[in-house]
């Protein structure tokens, strides 16, 4: 498990600079101590982005849902709760890219890796139901449902890069969700 790997397709560096962008760093501990800060952040950033849309109210619900899921996951599964997680947003006109970057322990990364392999190969509706049945039998907090719904319900391109860090068993995990801006505007 010590090699870098990529799940999905990273759309690479953009030719043009983004029309709009931001990047925010959080200390996971701050959000864990006051969990509602995840939702507050997601709502604020979604308002910021949706403000420029034709149907801001519809876009707001989808954007806040996506940002909140990514941020909650990044905070919950970060290996060191004092080490910043990064949340970034880029709007390229036709597409919107939302990305988180955090560290994960070796054990969580391994389970995440297996889950992503299933996400990339199995029928998404079947996987959604299978995960619900499996979660009911166990009690793990890592349900995977959030990422499944990103793909299943928001028609997003999900890409994940996993890179081992030089020291220890932790990995850097970057999760990128790319959405179609028109679909978000009409959601």
């Amino acid at each position: 498990m010590s090699i870098s790997r990529i799940h999905g397709v990273f759309d690479g560096a953009a030719v043009e600079p983004p029309l709009s962008k931001f990047e925010v760093k959080f200390t996971p501990l701050d959000l864990i101590a006051h969990w509602k800060r995840c939702g507050m952040t997601a709502d604020f950033l979604a308002y910021f982005i949706a403000y420029a849309f034709e149907n801001p109210k519809a876009a707001l619900n989808t954007l806040s849902t996506v940002i909140n899921e990514l941020l909650e996951n990044a905070v919950k599964f970060s290996a060191n709760k004092r080490e910043p997680v990064v949340l970034s947003f880029d709007h390229f006109g036709d597409t919107i890219r939302i990305e988180t970057c955090n560290t994960c322990s070796g054990a969580i990364t391994q389970r995440f890796d297996s889950f992503l392999q299933r996400l990339g190969s199995e029928d998404i509706e079947d996987l959604f139901i299978a995960q619900i049945e499996q979660n009911a039998a166990t009690n793990r907090s890592e349900s995977g449902l959030g990422l499944i719904t990103m793909v299943k319900d928001h028609n997003s391109n999900l890409a994940v890069s996993i890179r081992p860090l030089e020291v220890g068993d932790a990995h850097e995990v970057r999760v990128r969700v790319t959405l179609n801006a028109n679909e978000v505007d009409q959601s």
Partner: protein
């Protein structure tokens, strides 16, 4: 500043519950405390149990997990269950309809008008 729990409301009756606001608790386990009365009501329910989420603007994936556990509980009880959702709330229209496959006695009713 203490603003915990100020963003959602769950009203329980014998035949159903109504959830409004925002539900983004940290884990599925955190939902157990607020969903336990719903589970108890389902056990006692003799007709169709109705979960009205039309006024619930957001629910995170831990909440979807907890809600799906209610569906599985209804399945175990052989209890007809009806989830009322709002067409205008994207996550409800898109995600909740997929729960139908969990329970043959589950009806997911996505309506045009939000809860008053």
């Amino acid at each position: 500043m203490n603003m915990e729990d100020a963003d959602h409301r769950i009203e329980n009756t014998a035949a159903g519950c109504t959830m409004t606001g925002v539900l983004r608790l940290a884990t599925p386990g955190a939902y157990e405390r607020i969903f336990n009365p719903i589970h108890d009501a389902m056990i006692a329910c003799k007709t169709t149990y109705v979960v009205d989420i039309r006024g619930l603007n957001f629910m995170n994936s831990s909440g979807i997990t907890a809600l799906s556990r209610l569906v599985l509980a209804a399945r175990k009880l052989d209890l007809p269950l009806r989830i009322l959702g709002a067409e205008s709330i994207a996550w409800q229209r898109k995600t909740i309809t997929s729960l139908r496959r969990l329970h043959t006695l589950l009806t997911v009713d996505i309506q045009d008008t939000p809860a008053s």
